[in-house]
Symmetry: C2
Subunit: 186 residues, 2 copies
């Protein structure tokens, strides 16, 4: 009973995938705002109601495989190689995260659609609390410590800045070197 996850769940996943696929194709072809949910539902051959049972909003259709970004983020901090600072671990992780997005058309879609930009930023920022907690524990500070919360927020906020820069690596180094100096264990 470990993997025989019956036809039911399979069909569900299938429907979800069909929706995400149809949506992405239509969005890429004509732009986010030029496609209505009805059209997407039709393309995936389900009702609009069903679409919203699978995805909480039109924007969510684009960010299908949200997966465990948060886990990866927290793990990067918790499981950093010995001798490395938290700030350094964050820099590396964000840099990798920014770099490994080769799908240009997809990125362009998001960047050119205000609603999607906003949604993406929000998704990313949602991990602030978890990250702040991890940082606090790892640095022996009290949970709720403002400095840790600030570091978490700043690190997450810097992502967009780094991604937008012509030379992400240099931007990341510049920014995180300063965070390093500020947050060095006193």
């Amino acid at each position: 009973m470990t993997e025989a996850i019956g036809r039911r769940e399979r069909k569900k996943a299938q429907t979800r995938q069909a929706l995400a696929d149809a949506a992405l194709e239509l969005f890429l072809a004509r732009g986010f705002d030029q496609v209505g949910v009805k059209e997407i539902a039709d393309a995936a051959d389900v009702s609009v109601t069903t679409l919203f049972k699978h995805f909480p909003s039109k924007e969510a259709l684009v960010f299908d495989q949200e997966a465990d970004i948060e886990t990866a983020l927290v793990d990067a901090v918790r499981g950093r190689p010995p001798g490395h600072t938290i700030v350094d671990a964050l820099r590396k992780h964000i840099l990798v995260d920014v770099a490994e997005s080769p799908d240009d058309a997809f990125l362009r879609l998001i960047e050119s659609t205000p609603a999607l930009r906003e949604y993406s930023r929000r998704m990313w920022m949602r991990h602030e609390t978890a990250l702040a907690r991890a940082i606090a524990e790892e640095s022996g500070a009290p949970e709720e410590d403002v400095a840790c919360a600030a570091l978490a927020r700043f690190a997450l906020a810097s992502r967009e800045l780094i991604a937008a820069h012509e030379n992400p690596r240099r931007a990341a180094e510049e920014i995180f070197a300063r965070l390093e100096r500020g947050w060095r264990t006193e």
Copy 2:
């Protein structure tokens, strides 16, 4: 012709004010989501169409007097007392800005309404570019400098954190002391 801004403009301003007033009163009484734009328009005795000629969105009704927050922000950096660092000027300005909001009900309305929180944050963040430029010029860095952009972003982003803390002053000192250390002129 300097101040005789005819009855026309006066009436316009009047209508705008009536809308903002009606909206705020209704929102405070029953909550943002429990009031429809139609109702606000009726209360101000204008049509819904007119309401949207004055305000681009329902949220905008709440932030009527947006005024020159940006100017004040940039001025705080540019006109800081001699001998004071940019970071210090930012800390002071933000602290004042956070402190001088005595209208509790108004703040509670914003904090308790996701749409308004988001709108407010966005309004605040919109000044990032102007602030970044001011910082760059004041510190003699090239315009477009990443470190300056990051400082602008972080300073703005810290506002929410500071405002949410039980002791804003201490939170601001904690955060800005670290920014100070990181961004000290090398």
